[in-house]
Symmetry: C2
């Protein structure tokens, strides 16, 4: 299946308790595409970069089967820049700086050859830009997956409600699911969010795993307990990239196959956090992924008998 990915491609400055990096390639669409590239070579990236973004990095994406024809470069501006500092628990972070630069007036253009994508992955961006992408697609699309964040719930509620009508799978974290629905129970939250449009909901809980809701079915993918979490930046996007990449590869959009897709997404995210930025994803080998999938199987596999009186 053809996969379209939209989102940021950017520079990050990251500080964690284990070190800091002043400038590293980041952005949602970067992580999503990289993760998906382990499963599909039919990936089309729509994003925007500035004059400062390294062409070698873009070429590296191309060699991985990520078509960058839709990656616009604006020669008179710099790339989107985010700077953040993680606390010891790695679940909370402070944003130190956000420089929109090229993102301020980003008008996404989907190349003609990508308008018939089967799966559209809308990385976290303003709901208006996410909708502009959907409006350019022809009627081939079979699955639209969207990520968003609390910031758009706070500031763009109506636009968010508008685009949500067109979404098949929404991926948000537990706090965002609670904010979006006004419900504390994640089961109740899922049911309310289904009424906003999405037929499937993925709730990401970071080190506590991820929940997949569809109809009255719930599936839980654990996070692998790790000795060291070096840098969580991009883990959620990497998770989404593994998820859509696996679906594109297997061409099977059933709930049962989505279970496997979020296990693969969780495995990819577990690698992402091992090094700064996308460094681990760039050097990752197939054999490591398959070993980690076995770790996930061992982590939750059990063979139980029911008890009789």
């Amino acid at each position: 299946m053809k996969l379209l990915v939209i989102g940021t491609v950017a520079f990050d400055a990251i500080e964690t308790p284990f070190g800091k990096v002043e400038r590293i390639e980041g952005g949602a669409a970067n992580y999503i595409s990289l993760a998906a590239s382990f499963f599909s070579k039919n990936i089309h990236l729509v994003s925007v970069i500035g004059r400062d973004f390294d062409q070698d990095y873009v070429n590296m994406l191309e060699t991985r089967g990520i078509n960058t024809a839709g990656l616009e470069r604006k020669e008179n501006q710099d790339s989107f820049f985010w700077s953040g500092r993680y606390h010891m628990d790695m679940n909370t972070r402070d944003t130190l700086a956000t420089e929109l630069n090229v993102l301020a007036d980003f008008n996404p253009v989907v190349p003609n050859h990508a308008k018939d994508a089967d799966i559209v992955m809308l990385g976290n961006l303003t709901p208006q830009i996410q909708k502009k992408v959907l409006e350019q697609m022809d009627n081939s699309k079979k699955l639209v997956v969207m990520d968003t964040m609390n910031f758009w719930m706070d500031t763009q509620w109506e636009a968010l409600m508008d685009v949500l009508q067109y979404i098949d799978v929404l991926t948000i974290n537990d706090e965002e699911a609670r904010q979006l629905s006004g419900e504390y129970s994640l089961i109740k939250a899922a049911n309310k969010i289904f009424n906003m449009g999405p037929k499937t909901l993925i709730i990401k809980k970071g080190e506590h795993g991820a929940l997949l809701f569809h109809d009255h079915h719930v599936f839980f993918a654990p996070a692998l307990p790790l000795e060291d979490v070096f840098d969580p930046t991009g883990a959620g996007d990497t998770f989404a990239g593994g998820f859509v990449g696996y679906l594109a590869r297997t061409q099977n959009l059933s709930f049962d196959n989505m279970k496997n897709a979020i296990i693969y997404g969780s495995a990819m995210a577990s690698f992402c956090v091992e090094k700064f930025g996308p460094n681990k994803l760039i050097e990752l080998q197939r054999a490591e992924i398959n070993e980690r999938i076995k770790d996930f199987v061992n982590l939750v596999q059990f063979d139980i008998d029911l008890v009789e009186d």
Copy 2:
């Protein structure tokens, strides 16, 4: 296998966002015994109550196969009393009152017929009292399981380190595992705690499930996502009760069987939170437990293929 349970049997006053109850039977050993009674009828309770504790409730425990010969009643004092208020997220609570009463000078006496118990479950109490129980046991015991809390880490560090040497399985929550070990990573925490004595560690994460560590093996039992969590009081003790009860029934202390035991423990805990205090456990039926075990299987069961290049 014969199971010995020690811990509090007490009165609680509980306030949650969904209601309040002024006085209900609580205490670690109460929840542990009730949960275990669904799996074993060879349970021996060591605890202390005061003049105010209802004999009908004690009789109810007896009818469930819980031998209360070791449940001392002090006629000149009241029972241990705890009062707490839960916040909306149900993960945090404020203790409003703690009245030690009979617990202040509790000197546990293990009845002769219980000294040959195979499994000893030390509910949360001072480490000194936990050790006093172990000193009364003969050499039959095959497994000692202990629960403790941050309060004893703050106030009784040396006594805690002393008793930990004699423990096979320690059950604590994630925050306590981090405090006890000084490590944020739960994998590193487990390895440090193994050096304190326990060969197996269960880390309870409430709504985020539970981790079972042994040697280099890790198993994860999810918590079932629930529409309503009515009252979390006793959930951790109920989890422990299901765990030791299932082990006692199956007479199998292997790591693989402990996986099933924590799934049963998680299932029992998921019932506990449905009503105030132990009310749901008291009315619970076998068929409900088996249905819930199936829910757990569906929640995490997947059938995955590895991906080739």
